[in-house]
Symmetry: C2
Subunit: 459 residues, 2 copies
């Protein structure tokens, strides 16, 4: 860069925005273990996936041959409404920490859904539209994914039914209103609109607060029983989601090239893996091909420590055990993080792609962090960098600050890149608990972990 | 632009960002009528303003000589964290309306305060810091300004006390939490921390829901009684605020120059005037100097129609009648819009600068719109352009859509620029009312308007 100061924010031009997603599976060293049909325990075939997902998404789910897949023009046009997202040089955070590290973050929160989830939502909605489907179904917990898919379906004129975990539906009426504004039909789960829901209501009449597992089962049931008019969409874990989210990492890499930078350390929060998988994309390609060796850190909550405390095994993707089995790091599909955990990233498993990359050492480190520390990092970040981060994103902030402090101690001027996946505007109840001192953290005991893992199917 | 398509979003580079604010007063044809001391009814002197505002802000308030005033480097550095804001070509809205008009909007919502208010907040906080003040005081109704000033004070390490209208404090706990996260001390008004507040609580024990007028009086009282340690800050109406907000219009004009465009029509919502005053800035300079003649529309709510139904007169800036008198369009300082009005822009008066420009015909039209139409426009905009607008901004959207539809009817390809001042993430209760059909509008009756105007002081 010579004498030119690196700007606070680096944007690609629209011409520089990616025209293809990167499919890391094509370059992975270890053969990817396939999804298994839960009945036959044979690899899930295209026809089986097509019963649930749109045809193109089903093909993408199985594609481990093509390293690059074209982003349809209609999706690229939508991307241009809220992308490219900025690559931000965190000058103010660097000054605050007095660190020689150069800290960058890719900020995905500048859209109404408030997170990176929109990158995959618009792709899944587009393929559904192109296939002539009437609509989609999905589930949502906190509401980020449901909002993103509502926006995408609203844009393409698809109908959308969102099964929203009932306790979240009642706690976050704003999220429901937001989805409704974009035309979605939001139903608290468990509901009496599905067989699964009715059974849950009948069997557990005193426990109707719901779970992500039940909501998934309801959404899948409606899609499967729609006679082909509707399919189901999911916002994380799946290979197709990692594919669509690769736009984050491709943009990050190109933006860093523009300012003559390359990360020494890449940090992403990891729940189901959609953000971290997207952020590393082409950086991971460099690593798999031996061209570069950035140190990759996956940050997860101590309350839901799938990589740091889970086992690498075939397991169900949902609590209701209706989905295919995936080979992944898992705490057991019955695992439920402590109710005191407010910071998202509550999934019991981890993207099979990321699980394999971690298993093979390409993700160098998984780090579990305490949520008090996470909110402390979030608050400090907000005051110096201006943006109120989502609690999920704040896991990455916590690790980035720790790495920058290490640089101060060692005098090293490392380049750190982390993913700022979204904003915390709908998570202020959790910030309030942090500020008034009532936030706590309750990692699972060894006994709880063992009990949950014992339920993982044996082969 | 030749064959190159205009991008969805045009950003200035950091080098192209403005280094000076534009002070329209220096170019205005009619001498600006000064603020008056409410006791003496003589023009307010610098020393009188300094009792309330920081010294530099007081000087800016009185400055009608300098057309350009340097933006301090520290403020420009902060601007770089969330600016330049994008100039967006609304391709999707154009397609949806099937209009030959070219629609652009300057989007100011990509920061945690959610609106353009931060542009002035950071300037007022900087001057307070430079003067060695300990902190600032302010009031907030809906919370946008309070949030912006909280972020600004958090950044510079100033303390901040925000008097928040009590009914809003109780309805919007998230706004309070957000301000607290940035370090502000938020007090519901009326409170027992001031003489004014105690008097209100004593005199009206059954009506403690508060008003902006009382909150202003409390904030001013604390500043004035702080022995010079703290000063008061205000987010609209004032000349200094129009000055700081000029960054919106200067950026807009430069971005339009980059794509070889110039607006035929400029549309801004108008409450106290901070957004419209900022948006027009250098375009108004062209107009005052006869270089161009964009048609300028100020859009206000039918429920609070200061330009379309008010009178041009000296009036108090607050309900409590402690502030100086300003020459402006006003509905009377006792005017209060109907409780059914959810869309912001509730101020009884209008920036003296904008009032004079409207009086002199440089603001070509003031248009009052119904809030049902406003929310209808907001919802349609959200579905096609992706962004959920603030209700305030949606007033401008409504007018922009109407102008674009006129272009369709006439076949004219006009260039329309409007200000998208912010996002509606904390206004979902109002969207919910719109969606469920319980939103209504209740413009004031002629009798109500006459009663309120009768209370304007006579000269």
């Amino acid at each position: 860069m010579g004498k030119t100061k690196i700007p606070y924010k680096t944007y690609l031009t629209e011409q520089e925005m990616p025209k293809e997603w990167y499919n890391v599976r094509a370059d992975m060293k270890t053969n990817h273990r396939p999804l298994l049909n839960p009945q036959t325990r044979e690899p899930a075939r295209l026809e089986e996936l097509e019963a649930v997902f749109s045809t193109e998404c089903s093909k993408q789910e199985l594609n481990d041959a093509d390293a690059y897949i074209e982003i349809p023009e209609e999706v690229r046009e939508f991307y241009k409404m809220y992308r490219p997202s900025p690559l931000v040089r965190a000058y103010c955070l660097e000054r605050y920490l007095d660190t020689p590290a150069r800290i960058y973050y890719k900020f995905e929160g500048n859209n109404t859904s408030g997170s990176h989830k929109l990158n995959s939502a618009i792709a899944q909605a587009y393929y559904a539209k192109r296939q002539g489907l009437k609509g989609l179904t999905t589930e949502t917990g906190a509401g980020q994914w449901g909002t993103a898919l509502s926006m995408a379906c609203g844009y393409f004129g698809l109908d959308l039914t969102v099964y929203m975990v009932r306790c979240s539906y009642e706690q976050k009426p704003q999220r429901k209103t937001l989805m409704t504004t974009y035309g979605a039909n939001v139903i608290p789960s468990p509901s009496d609109t599905t067989e699964v829901g009715k059974r849950m209501l009948r069997e557990f009449p005193n426990n109707t607060s719901g779970s992500l597992g039940t909501a998934i089962s309801e959404a899948v049931e409606v899609a499967v029983k729609s006679g082909g008019a509707r399919k189901y969409a999911l916002g994380s874990v799946l290979n197709q989601v990692m594919l669509h989210q690769s736009v984050i990492g491709i943009e990050s890499k190109r933006a860093m090239e523009k300012i003559d930078e390359y990360p020494d350390i890449i940090i992403g929060c990891a729940g189901g893996g959609s953000n971290l998988g997207g952020l590393i994309s082409e950086f991971m390609r460099d690593k798999l091909k031996g061209k570069a060796n950035p140190y990759v850190i996956a940050v997860e909550p101590m309350s839901c420590p799938s990589l740091t405390k889970g086992v690498f095994a075939y397991d169900y993707c949902d609590t209701g055990r209706v989905t295919p089995l995936a080979m992944m790091y898992t705490l057991g599909s019955g695992f439920c993080p402590s109710p005191s955990h407010a910071g998202g990233l509550r999934y019991h498993g981890m993207s099979p792609i990321l699980s394999q990359l971690y298993r093979d050492g390409y993700i160098d480190e998984a780090r579990a962090v305490n949520q008090i520390d996470v909110f402390d990092a979030a608050t400090r970040f907000a005051r110096v960098e201006g943006i109120l981060p989502a609690p999920e994103s704040a896991h990455a902030i916590k690790a980035a600050i720790d790495e920058a402090v290490k640089c101060k101690e060692s005098g090293e001027s490392k380049t750190i890149l982390f993913g700022l996946t979204g904003t915390g505007y709908f998570d202020l109840y959790a910030y309030e608990k942090f500020l008034n001192g009532t936030l706590s953290d309750a990692p699972p005991s060894e006994a709880e972990l063992a009990r949950s893992e014992n339920a993982i199917p044996k082969f």
